[in-house]
Structure formats: structure tokens, C-alpha cells
Amino acid sequence: MPPDLAVQVAGLGKKYRIGALQDRSRMLVEVLSEATLWPVRAARSLLGRQRTRSELTTSIIWALRDVSFEVERGEVMGIIGPNGAGKSTLLKVLTRITHPDEGYARIRGRVGSLLEVGTGFHAELTGRENIYLNGAILGMHRHEIDRKFDEIVAFSGVERFIDTPVKRYSSGMYLRLAFSVAAHLETDILLVDEVLAVGDAEFQKKCLGKMSRVAHEGRTVLFVGHNMAAVQHLCQSAIWLERGRVRQHGPVEDVIRAYLSALDAESPDTRFPLMNPQYGVGFADCRVHLVGGSNGEARTLRVELGVLAEQDTPRIGIGLGLITETGAVVTTLDAKITNFIFDMQKGVNRFVLEVPEIERYLAAGEYMVQVWLTLPELTRLIELDRAGLILLHGRDMFGTGRVPEVHRHGPLILPLEVRRAERAAH
């Protein structure tokens, strides 16, 4: 294995038997009674190799199939994909919790995994005792825990309660302490599931900040992310898993873009053509892009829309809206104020909607584009409330090196100026 690689995975596969659910309740007495009929078969069954009736009725699911990738030392790689794609299974195989059925993986260096916080925490033990227990379970040596003890307690914010049994903690305190221990793991390679960053907004910020620092310390990190903005922010490369297979692997931007556009293409409302039956108008297709930005300038939002009319229909308004990830309305640009009202001809009418340099005005983050058709008096005929998801980079408006983010600063970037007021004349 080349010395600059931290992780090398080739053809990794892991399968599960679905019928195993019935198999799980298999009784030892059943196995033993089979022994009186088929001694050899029962012995093999005990040793884990089943050739039993139940195996014929089970179906096999490949949680991972033919997964291959490489991670360099110091690289931060994101693992994205829909639920059930195999992300957690991949982490489990890499942390040796479960074994692959095919292929292999090579790992150089110590591995620390944060698949869930608070593993091994016991309610009856105090916070202090749990720090030691949990630390030991995660693989830290006692002297290491001694050294970092104060830091861990400080990060968690439960100093006052450190000697009370954990069963008296609020769930927030519990999670903060648990995450704090895990966050102080000092291994060469870290496998993290983003679901760990729990708690209130304040603490989440802390967690992401810590993860970001870890990423920049030169450690190799594999990060299972669900929030694309976080993945983009923390990772250099990414791998997209779907149904156990690698769909795409490469620089984080490219992979995320591909993933997001696949999301809109597959999103449930886009069963085109989407029509309003009463008025006979609707959408034939809709594509949402961000274009430009090749020189780092603000990109433009571009929506290519096909409006389908069953016959010539005059005065149909087109509206565009933007909402944040949390559903907060950023803007609702209705035909009534914009006056984008058109006469539709029978068939497909092609339109282009553009917001030039949209990144100039909006903070970094995910936004959902919405498009709708209305009558001129505002009555909505048909809407696409999930026309497309866009990920904006924001811009360093104030030259401070920091980009406003929608979750922290709101969606709008206003050109604020602050300067000393001139002395008033006496």
C-alpha cells in the first residue's frame, strides 16, 4: 500500500440475509433436535454455516457491493447518499465492527470512530466515571484521559455536575458530555457520522467547529454527512453511495452537485407533465441550475421551464420563490408585482428564468427554488414547490475572510457600513 494513502478499499461487499429476521429466533433446541436426524448438518449449523430450510426462504441484500476508493493521509472525505445507501455499513466495516463478505480494505494508522456518542455510558455512574469508561471503550488509554480530562469537561459545559450520576442529567447535558469525550479522540484516522452533532444550536456550532478544526489538523477524516453545506465546508473529496454502490467519487463540489441534481430529478412531485386540469396549463419540465462562477464571481440562478398548454391560453403569470432549508421564506416573486405574464400557445412554451448573480445577495447554504403559474389576479394554478435545490457559496462581503451562512446570519446579505460619525458643530 503506497505510503501516502491512509485508507484503501477495493471491491468491498457486505450482505445481509433478510430472512435472518426469522432466523434470529431460532432456538438451540431446534438445532439440537435436528441433530438427531442430521448430525452433520446440525454441527455445521452450530458453527455458523447454515444449510438449512430457512436459508432457502431468505433473500440476500447487499448493503455494500463492489465499493472501491482511496483516501490520502490528511484528506477529509465526505460520504453522502440517501438513507439505506450503505454509509453506516461502510463505516462499520472500516471500524471492524462487522466483516465484509467480499473485497478488502487496508487502513494505515490508528482508527477512532464516532458512530454514536455515549457508547457504554452507564446511568448509575457519575459524569467523571463515565468519561473514563467511555474513553476506555473508545480506545483511549488512562493516562490520555487523565491528561485531557479538564478539556473534556470544559468542552461539555457540565463542570458543576461532573460528580453526579448521569441518570440525573438532562438529555442535553448527557449528549454534550458524550460528544465531548468522543471529540477528544486523538487517532490518525477518524470516522464520523454527522448525526453526532446534536443538541441546541449553540452546541451544534461547537461540534461543527471542533470537527472543522480536526479536519484542518491534518488528520484523515471520513465524514458521513447529511447536511450538504457542512460536507462542502469540511471535506475535500466525497463519495456518493446509493444502494450499496459507489455512484460517484471525486472532488466534493462535483459530487455534491451531481447528488443534488439527481435529487431534483427524482423528487416525488416532478411527475411531469404536471397539469392543472381545470385550466389546461401546467409544467412539461423544469431544470434548475447555477451557472457561471468560473472566475469566482457570483453565480446566476437559471431555471429552464417548459410550460404546457392544452390550447392557446392568454395571460398566465410565472412566479418564482425561494425558501431556506428550514422553510423560511426568502422571497416570493409573484407575477402581480413582476408582471411576468405571458400568453401561452398550445403545446410547450419554453421559458428561461434568471436571477443574475444571485450569490451576491444571499448567504451560503441550501435553498429550495419554487416555481408556479398563476392567473394575473394571483390565483395559483399549479406549483412546483420543490423545483430544485441549490447550494450557494455566499460571498465574503466584508472582506473579513468569513462568508455569511444562512443558518447563522439569515438569508440576506446587506451591504452594511459602519463608520464614526463626524463631530457635530458646536
Binding site: 462487522t98 487502513i107 482508527v111 448509575e124 480506545g139
Partner: protein, 289 residues
């Protein structure tokens, strides 16, 4: 099908850095006891956790270690010693049975803890890697504090009855205790691995232990049996341990001999087979538990 196993390769470049190879696992897996040494601190913490939790939880916590054998001794003394008049090698029945109950209770507790250990710590199995051997081992070692407490009571009883052991015979207690631990571990490894897969093992174990006690010379002396049955009796590893304890403490009965040797042999076989079986099943624990 070719046989693979989990291997650790050392690169030539750096001594500190090892390249770990993760591959499919088939068939028998090497014991890799060296890895256990690397995780000795975890073993310590798991034992510490079990003991701390047990003693924090109930007021009786510490007392239970004593109540159990003491109470059983009283019942036995009344029914077996008093009413049924079972012979006891010329030793007063209460202390006769207590010296048997002492190692037996340790064995029963250790075995019960070990067999349930993997399922009890299922969440650890599913989330973190460490050699799984640590868990049942912690279960067995965790039964020692209770043993020591019950032992103190025994010392009290011996003073009361005026029976004093010799120093040499006391030394025998250590290897005998070790034998009991290894027997509990060996069987515990088999049972814990089976329990993960087959849940009815959880019902079998209490029944098994109950019956086993009657197959062990706790309530009666092994002198009830003639040779060669007595030596064969040693196939029950605890037979050798219990008789040995009785001899070491009270200087009555037979010194460790052929029966104890047979017990030791059985224990070694159980332990080695248990280790290999456990390691072979280990890779499915996280999937099946």
C-alpha cells in the same frame, strides 16, 4: 473456498505504523491473545464498571455476596444435614456445606455473568471495536469480589468451629480458584457465543447451573462414590475444585489426586475449545445480536 483471516501487516517504512487488512472471515480464526494485552485497560474498566454499578445500585449490594451462600447453607444444613442425615466426612454439616458453597457460588455467578455478558453489552458490540473476549472475561473476573467477601465469612465460621488449615494447604486455594475461573470462562465462552445467536440459551443456563450443583459435591461428599466412579466424577471440573477447597481448608477428605487431575484436564479442554469457538463466531456478533 480459500481460508482468510484478519491479519495485521507491518510495513517496512515505519515501525509505529501498522497497516491493518480487513478481509472476509471464514472458518477458524487465530486466537490473537496478544491483542487482548493491548486492551487490558478496557478489561479493567469493564470489571470496575460492573462492580461499581452492582454495589451502587442496592443497599444489599455487598451483603448479597454473603447472604446467598449463607442462606443456602442454612437450608442445606436443616434438610440435608439434619433431616436427611447425609454424611459429611466427619465435619459438622454447616461448615462442610459452606466450604463447598463458597467456590460453587463463585463459579455459578461467574458462569451466569459470562454467558449473559455479550447480550447485555449488545450496544458495545454494535458500535465499537475491541476483542470481544474482553467481555466474558470481565464477567468471570467480576465475580471475585463477592467470593472474597463470602470467604471472610468462612474464616469466621472456621474460628467458631475451631478448625484451622495449614499454610501449605492454604496455598492450594490459589490454583484451585484459578481452575474454577478457567472452567467458568471456558464454558462461559461457549454459552455466551451461543446465546448471541440462540436466545433460548438464556433459559437453559439457570437450569443448567441448578442441576450442575447437584452433580457437584457441594451438599454431599464425593466419598459417597467408589472408584473408578470417583475419578470419572472429576469430568465435572467443579468436582475437583470443591473437594480441593474442602481439603485445603478443613483437612478432611482426599488430597488433590486423580479426580482433581481429571477436572483440570476437562477444564483445559473446555477453555481451549471455548476460545476457538468464540473466535470463530465473533465476526457475526455485531450482525446478529
Amino acid at each position: 473456498m480459500t481460508r482468510f483471516s484478519l491479519r495485521t501487516l507491518r510495513t517496512k517504512n515505519s515501525s509505529a505504523e501498522r497497516v491493518l487488512l480487513i478481509e472476509p472471515v471464514h472458518g477458524w480464526v487465530p486466537l490473537n491473545l496478544r491483542e487482548m494485552w493491548a486492551y487490558r485497560e478496557l478489561l479493567y474498566f469493564l470489571i470496575w464498571r460492573d462492580i461499581k454499578v452492582r454495589y451502587k445500585q442496592t443497599l444489599l449490594g455487598a451483603a448479597w455476596a454473603i447472604i446467598q451462600p449463607l442462606f443456602t447453607m442454612v437450608i442445606f444444613s436443616i434438610f440435608f444435614g439434619g433431616l436427611a442425615k447425609i454424611p459429611s466426612d466427619d465435619i459438622p454439616y454447616p461448615i462442610f456445606s459452606y466450604t463447598g458453597l463458597l467456590p460453587w457460588t463463585f463459579f455459578a455467578t461467574a458462569l451466569t455473568n459470562a454467558s449473559r455478558s455479550l447480550v447485555r453489552d449488545a450496544n458495545l458490540l454494535k458500535r465499537v471495536y475491541f476483542p470481544r473476549l474482553v467481555i466474558p472475561l470481565a464477567g468471570v473476573v467480576g465475580a471475585l469480589p463477592d467470593f472474597f467477601l463470602a470467604f471472610l465469612i468462612l474464616l469466621g465460621m472456621m474460628v467458631y468451629y475451631g478448625l484451622y488449615p495449614t499454610a501449605i494447604s492454604l496455598l492450594w486455594l490459589f490454583p484451585l480458584l484459578l481452575l474454577g475461573m478457567l472452567a467458568a470462562l471456558g464454558i462461559g465462552l461457549w454459552l455466551s457465543a451461543l446465546y448471541v445467536r440462540y436466545r433460548d440459551v438464556g433459559y437453559i443456563v439457570p437450569f443448567l447451573i441448578q442441576s450442575w450443583m447437584y452433580l457437584t459435591p457441594v451438599a454431599y461428599p464425593s466419598s459417597l462414590l467408589d472408584e473408578p466412579w470417583r475419578t470419572l466424577y472429576g469430568l465435572n471440573p467443579m468436582a475437583g475444585v470443591v473437594e480441593g477447597f474442602r481439603w485445603a481448608l478443613l483437612h478432611k477428605g482426599q488430597a488433590p489426586g486423580p479426580m482433581t487431575a481429571v477436572s483440570a484436564l476437562t477444564t483445559i479442554l473446555l477453555l481451549i475449545s471455548g476460545l476457538y469457538f468464540f473466535r470463530r463466531m465473533e465476526h457475526i456478533f455485531a450482525d446478529v445480536v
